[in-house]
């Protein structure tokens, strides 16, 4: 029932336009189709998503299947390259292309899962601090400061060293570590929203605190939330790759791109493709997510006082 069309008096009247403001949805849609970064980043994400979903269809081989007679075959552009293994094989004879494709799943899964956990924690803390202020704000700010003082990778490494590495552990650990940007930004945004008159108007109308936070404030935070989430996915993916590279992330034989780089580093001098290919995949995905995040921020930015 969203017939929120604007009324525009035609310019033939010679008076100019009577009402000219489009709905927020229309503004966003118009901007989206023109923003190159948004379109490129979105395209990359869609591509990787499709590859992840359709991995069993796209990948020519089982990523875990070792063929020791086919070890270290270079990719198609090297000598002895074959179309059987377009991106070559690694030191255990596993098809690299299949591993890259299945690696999409790992990266996306870990990236998004971490961000969901981080968003819940960070948004919760930020909202509480921004809305209630006072002691709550002091407490949350303290926690944020403590968290910012800790290097995320080292803490993750320590946790994994204590408990052992697996995908679930990595997701939980990283999720509990990367919420800081959410908290900081959403706290500031909530404070801004708090100072708008529609909050006291809602209070005066009899809305409960829960109602105000979830139905009046949260919708106005969604823009920021989505932008930060998109950027943090890139960060989470890189962190996972770093952990896996250090051997402190997902365990072999999982086809994580970071793990692939780690396993390939011994052969780096003669078979550099073992690290450049997963490296390039990481680069493209994270670049795409960052461009998408920046694009989202531009597309959802407020028009100014209108």
């Amino acid at each position: 029932m969203k017939t929120a069309e604007t009324v525009i008096e035609s310019t033939e009247s010679g008076l100019g336009l009577e009402v000219v403001f489009p709905t927020p949805g229309q503004i966003m849609r118009r901007r989206m189709t023109r923003h190159k970064g948004f379109l490129f980043g979105g395209g990359v994400l869609v591509l990787v998503l499709l590859m992840a979903i359709l991995a069993p269809v796209i990948a020519p081989h089982d990523p875990y299947h070792q063929e020791l007679t086919q070890r270290l075959i270079p990719p198609i552009w090297g000598e002895n390259g074959t179309w059987q293994h377009p991106l070559g094989t690694d030191n255990l004879g596993r098809d690299y292309f299949s591993r890259v494709v299945y690696g999409c799943r790992i990266s996306l899964l870990i990236g998004f899962a971490c961000v969901v956990i981080a968003a819940v924690i960070g948004a919760g803390l930020g909202l509480a601090a921004g809305y209630f202020g006072g002691r709550v704000d002091m407490f949350v700010s303290f926690i944020i400061t403590v968290r910012l003082a800790m290097p995320a990778v080292l803490v993750a490494v320590a946790v994994v060293a204590l408990i052992g590495g697996s995908m679930q552990i990595v997701i939980l650990t990283l999720g509990c570590l990367i919420w800081d940007r959410f908290a900081v930004v959403l706290r500031a945004t909530t404070q801004q929203i708090r100072s708008m008159d529609y909050i006291p108007a809602a209070q005066a109308a009899g809305c409960s605190t829960f109602w105000i936070v979830s139905r009046e404030i949260l919708p106005n935070l969604l823009n920021n939330l989505v932008v930060i989430a998109t950027l943090e996915v890139g960060r989470a993916i890189l962190l996972e790759a770093a952990l896996s590279f250090l051997g402190m992330g997902v365990q072999p034989p999982t086809p994580s791109w970071g793990l692939m780089i780690s396993e390939g580093k011994e052969f780096m001098l003669f078979d550099p493709y073992l690290i450049t290919i997963p490296g390039a995949a990481l680069f493209i995905l994270v670049l795409g997510m960052n461009l998408l995040g920046d694009g989202l921020r531009d597309v959802t930015a407020p028009e100014g006082k209108a």
Partner: protein, 332 residues
């Protein structure tokens, strides 16, 4: 005697996604030394844009055209960007509306005042400081010397506005453009600030353009006024003339809107102008007020309605003649 500022046929267009916005259309006026001209109108009428156009401070992308734009006999239209630097702030100053945001919070008052002078004149720091103290005292700030070390956030809104005025005067300009200088201030401070501006103007023999929507302010302070609507000037004249005998229906409508003790009856409806101001985008012709005017008829959509000058400095823009209008108003 040539006027201090001469504006003839000033146009400002702003390209927007929806089309070309004609913010200022064919605006002409002049300001003499020691005179206060007021540009009156509601938000969106183009009065602030006119001021920015004169100072050449328009937003990027704006297109400014004028038949004549002369200040102190210099053609401002021909002046390149660098030439304006010598004029803006030095010969012509602007005072903005928001004293909270027009002063830089990172620098002391003294710093900002002195900078206003040092940028334009080759004087020593001490001379700049002395002039700052002199002007702060002129604007009624006690303990001027110690105030120089204070930061903007340590002063109230009224004091900040006085500092803004002092800053505008540092180089001894001949023209001051005040854009809603008292709107953000309390009522009791408002009269003081306006009186201050008036006395300084007399003392330094400056011209003043006062931009405001407040007819009360205009009536007490301005010598002459120009009423603007939708980018066009719809009426001009000496303040007393216009207030005692407003000709244009918009001017009349505006005056009827204001609760005035003695004129409007408490508890009775105020006159109001129905409808909304159109946004001047695209091809425009005819009278911009015709969708809200109670006297509108077919001739109002005519191609171009020019200003009709009925006496020196007194003009209005309407197809209807004076007699017709007088008769209609007499009926009301």
């Amino acid at each position: 005697m040539s006027a201090l500022l001469e504006v003839k046929s000033l146009n400002v267009d702003l390209p927007l996604p929806a089309g070309l916005l004609h913010a200022v259309r064919d605006v002409s006026f002049s300001v003499a030394k020691g005179e206060t001209l007021s540009l009156v109108g509601e938000s969106g009428c183009g009065k602030s844009m006119t001021a920015l156009a004169i100072m050449n401070l328009l937003p990027p992308g704006a297109i400014r055209r004028a038949e004549r734009l002369y200040f102190e006999s210099r053609n401002l239209m021909g002046a390149a960007g660098t030439d304006m630097i010598g004029i803006r702030g030095a010969r012509m100053s602007m005072i903005f509306q928001e004293p909270m945001t027009s002063l830089d919070p990172c620098y002391t008052i003294g710093n900002q005042l002195e900078e206003a002078l040092l940028e334009h004149r080759k004087v020593t720091k001490k001379e700049a400081r002395d002039r700052a103290v002199f002007l702060l005292e002129k604007v009624g700030i006690t303990g001027a010397a110690s105030r120089l070390k204070q930061y903007p956030h340590q002063l109230s809104g009224g004091l900040r506005q006085r500092v803004m005025i002092a800053m505008g005067l540092m180089c001894g300009p001949s023209l001051i453009i005040a854009d809603e200088p008292t709107t953000a201030l309390d009522v009791t401070i408002q009269a003081q600030i306006l009186a201050l501006l008036a006395s300084l103007q007399k003392e330094f023999d400056m011209g003043q353009i006062l931009i405001t929507h407040d007819l009360g302010v205009v009536s007490r302070v301005a010598d002459r006024l120009a009423v603007m609507y939708c980018g066009l000037v719809v009426e001009t004249g000496h303040t007393t003339e216009v207030f005692q005998n407003p000709i244009h229906p918009y001017t009349r409508g505006l005056m009827d809107c204001i609760p005035a003790p003695g004129k409007t009856k408490p508890g009775q409806e105020l006159g109001s102008i129905p409808g909304i101001v159109p946004t001047p985008i695209g091809d425009l012709w005819g009278c911009p007020f015709r969708n809200r005017c109670f006297l509108a008829h077919d001739a109002c959509s005519a191609k171009n309605i020019d200003l009709v000058e009925i006496a020196t400095g007194r003009s209005y823009r309407c197809v209807l003649g004076l007699d017709h209008l007088a008769a209609e108003y007499g009926r009301m």
